[in-house]
Amino acid sequence: MAEVVLKSVEKQYPNGFKAVHGIDLEIKDGEFMVFVGPSGCAKSTTLRMVAGLEDITGGEIWIGDKCVNEVQPKDRGIAMVFQNYALYPHMTAYNNMAFGLQMSKTPKNIIDQRVREAAKHLEIEDLLDRKPKEMSGGQRQRVALGRALVRKPDVFLFDEPLSNLDAKLRVSMRVRIQELHEMLKAEGVPATMIYVTHDQVEAMTMGDRITVLNAGRIMQVDTPMNLYRKPENLFVAGFIGAPSMNLVDGEIVEMGGKVFVSIPGGVLPLPEEKAEKVRSHVGKKIKFGLRPEDIIANEVHEGGEGFVTGSVRVVEQMGNEEFIYFNAAGTQFIARVNPEQVKNIRKGEDYRFWFNLAKCHMFDLETEENLTL
């Protein structure tokens, strides 16, 4: 039993800065919880409070059925990957990884076996005799990761554990962590994992749920798909997704019984379903949001319900896709298109961009809440 529960947890740093403003969060036993949020939003602080490294200045943290406010880190049953690695500089990679096991008096042969196995998965077998000084950034990060992986705690805390790895390695490490999670579950000793990342792919693929933090407050806790599709507020909408959702000023207008949204570059008819949700806001200003992939750049397009005309400023080619930055009535939009389907878009020229309005979001300007959910 290692559910992690935060009850109105607060943190004020000695210099007076209040980093966490009362967080309530329940992480279920064996759940894979991802923390995302802008830099400085208190992800690490929260993780470190769960670990017991940071005194909490308000609220309670429960692990299992114990309030751990007063419990030492070593008695909390946790393993952690530090954002700054915190490797022991005087120990080899091997000893860095073995240290925790040695402390728990694990037999030597088991330590050896686990360390070597982890090293194999982390592709650092050749480096086991090296000290941190003699390793590259990514290699150090993998040792830091290995140090946590070899252990079998109730709760894993990962603070951006893959940030310095190349894409390929990152994928395989990600899979490795997920496998571990599955394996432990299968073995009947599920481990709760809390994982901080800035990588949206990681967040979306790994998390059972994702907690979006902003400035020491929780914005939304939900499954990846819900976060993406049903952001509860403007912040989440803007934060999740890369490139991020187009968010422009708009106004709800009613014309002839039909509800439209007026945005820079055009007045677009809202589908019935959306129209219902915002009818109360007719005449009011709102934020209009649409994901880049829901804009289709094509002269004629049967799927779109409305379009704006914009001039293309930049086309970023990503190999498998293209980002088109265009300007409509002084407002910048970004569209994400398949280069195969949308050909011959040239910089500087004007095109019609069709909007898939069934996917659009509209946010109250004051409460910043999503009106279209």
Partner: protein, 290 residues
Amino acid sequence: MKGKKYEGLLYITPWLIGLVVFTAFPFFASLFFSFTDYNLMSSPNFVGIDNYKTMFQTELFWKSFGITMSYVFITVPMKLAFALFIAYILNFKLKAVNFFRTAYYMPSILGGSVAVAVLWRFLFADTGLVNMILALFGVDSISWLGNPDYAIFTISLLRVWQFGSPMVIFLAALKNVPESLYEAARIDGASKVKTFIRVTLPMITPVLFFNFIMQLVQAFQEFNGPYIITGGGPLNSTYLFPLYIYDNAFRYFRMGYSSALSWFLFVVIMVFTLLAFKSEKHWVHYTEVE
């Protein structure tokens, strides 16, 4: 760091000058004296290795040397351990830690003053405090200062008691151990003791090494303690080598012989220091290797 060769030389130039101007002459002069019968008043005559021969044939020389060795072996580890232990405790975030640090440094400020001599008498005289306390436990009074077998301990204790400077150095070193390593150790489940042994200690080995060498050197050259408390007695049982050197140099005016003694001690310390430096790579962890 990259650097042109002369740049480093530039930095040690002051020292090099000092070496040539201030250190070299006295050094070589004393080496030269060790081969003469120099008695300060008349000019030295070369006598070859006579002084060294005499030395090895002198009973007192061997006795003094033996005592010095045991003194070194007793005090160096004890003082280091004590200094480290106290530094470790005083490194915690305690209230009034400034006060405690000052208190613990106190004995070292007192140095070899009258007060220390008098105090040691009170502590270890037959009617002294230590015996009074021992009496509480039914132990017969011990002649700490009068019994040649014990006197060396009282001297050693004085040295251990003045553990302030290594303590301060340890403190400075402990401050440089990154906090994050302690955090990692806490997460790794290491107890305080384990953290100390496996993390703190290795991190401060450069300074531990330094303190070790320094204590070794200073213990070999210890003069003040026995000089002010026992004067070398009883029965020369605290007649440390430097006292022997001092007596010969400034009381008997046998500067030649005394120089020979000094150079003998020099070689002995050198041997130990060399051994220490040889062992260095096995246990001293440097963040920066060259």
